[in-house]
Symmetry: D2
Subunit: 159 residues, 4 copies
Amino acid sequence: MRMLEVLGPAPALQVDEWLNTKSPLALEQLKGKVVVLHAFQMLCPACVQLATPQMQKLQDLFGGDEVAVIGLHTVFEHHDAMTPVALKAFVHENRLTFPIGIDRHDGDAVPLTMRAYGFGGTPSVALIDRQGRLRFNELGHQPDLGLGALIGSLVAEGK
Amino acid sequence: MRMLEVLGPAPALQVDEWLNTKSPLALEQLKGKVVVLHAFQMLCPACVQLATPQMQKLQDLFGGDEVAVIGLHTVFEHHDAMTPVALKAFVHENRLTFPIGIDRHDGDAVPLTMRAYGFGGTPSVALIDRQGRLRFNELGHQPDLGLGALIGSLVAEGK
Amino acid sequence: MRMLEVLGPAPALQVDEWLNTKSPLALEQLKGKVVVLHAFQMLCPACVQLATPQMQKLQDLFGGDEVAVIGLHTVFEHHDAMTPVALKAFVHENRLTFPIGIDRHDGDAVPLTMRAYGFGGTPSVALIDRQGRLRFNELGHQPDLGLGALIGSLVAEGK
Amino acid sequence: MRMLEVLGPAPALQVDEWLNTKSPLALEQLKGKVVVLHAFQMLCPACVQLATPQMQKLQDLFGGDEVAVIGLHTVFEHHDAMTPVALKAFVHENRLTFPIGIDRHDGDAVPLTMRAYGFGGTPSVALIDRQGRLRFNELGHQPDLGLGALIGSLVAEGK
């Protein structure tokens, strides 16, 4: 098992609208927790069938004082199909309970937070340690055993 | 294995727009084939994860001279999320190749063909024999073994 | 969907001992039913994980007046591991309820019924129609949709 | 995510014969590594279909300097079916590569190591930290996300 090196400070979340949370979230507030950042699109098959359900399992298993699961809707294609209204229906139908932010656009097809992290597509996952440092950033669905091990190791690092 | 009784003539398809086919389809034209009619919504989790991929497998295995797989997008909720534009993105992303009709609305939340078949929700599947008669009509995902056997028995009935 | 051609009369079952049945079975007695003959070895991973559970599903769904699921333990390797005592424990632990015959050896590593059918390994499946004719004979796990369709078509042929 | 408490020193492995290792293993030698101890029986369906393949995945992902995956064949039923000869065929057919010890019997149906750990059946899994202390001991298949997280947290504890 490889130890996770430090990739630098985690870029800020630039979000237009939040779902499943009463007030907007910022990484600053989440210091002390391990953050699992799930970049997805509601019409991306590997998200809907694999990565997003995995995040809900993570939320059910670990969400709370130690781990924060955060979704980020990074629409970079089919913009007229994956609207906020459509996303809300998707979240409702899939019974997702973790907070989800809608990544902000500035006119470019690719939204701002997605560019800041350099995500190569969806699904992507970033892991942020208790100190707010980026420790993992990968494109593609991560199998449960490996992702679980990475999260467990970050939780064990302590605050 | 139960033999499939005749439930009556299959109601006509009332469709606003067709995807994956050059010209509109009518059951009349499909006489001589077994028709598998897949009622779905693009934001219904059991459709996206189970029933719609099963239909694509059916299309890949059996679609052709003997069997016609037809999708019917029966939007009865979240109408502003499951628009034709969104459906086209969904079909593209999921690489669906079978013809899909958008069930027509007349002002009621439930569209016309869905009402005519009495589908109780999505996913639902109807099987229509080579003579155009309705032989099976059920709500819910049907496991592969059982659905395969029903289709095989209708194909074997001959023209 | 291809129609199943007739491959010839189904070879007789040559069995040393039967499990899950009060008296020995012969294909003669099963005329009028579609027979699904499942050739397996208890230590073959693709059998244990895929094909044998599929046969139990077939038995639960269709076993009865129309379809007879029959297992055949065709030991052609690891003979000292896959003994009748071991097979009985396997059948008990996996809660298999369909009849299973132990294919007879005459000194050759490959048992007699396996040779008569020409099975190339395990799992293999043969389908025998209501008239006792061999209609399908393939090595490897058969996906549910396709196998279900083949069985459904043979059932529909009538007696 | 719960932190793993210390359950005491890990009981010694009492093994008659080892597979997949040149010389016998003792927990003493494994100090410095996290040990995943997999108690199984080759005819236990939940082992064969879930837990044993999971252990091979663990071995492929993590086996090495940090993590040692160790199988323990704890035969407590069907003793005449699950012999060493049968186990060797099972290991060969399932392409298992991690070391496996055959738990020793003293005349009781339940073997010695199984009794020392108090395993309630198969599959069971015990996790032993780098200092040789028992940290987790549960009956039943453990889902990948949770087991991965536990192992990751023990690896991160350092030597």
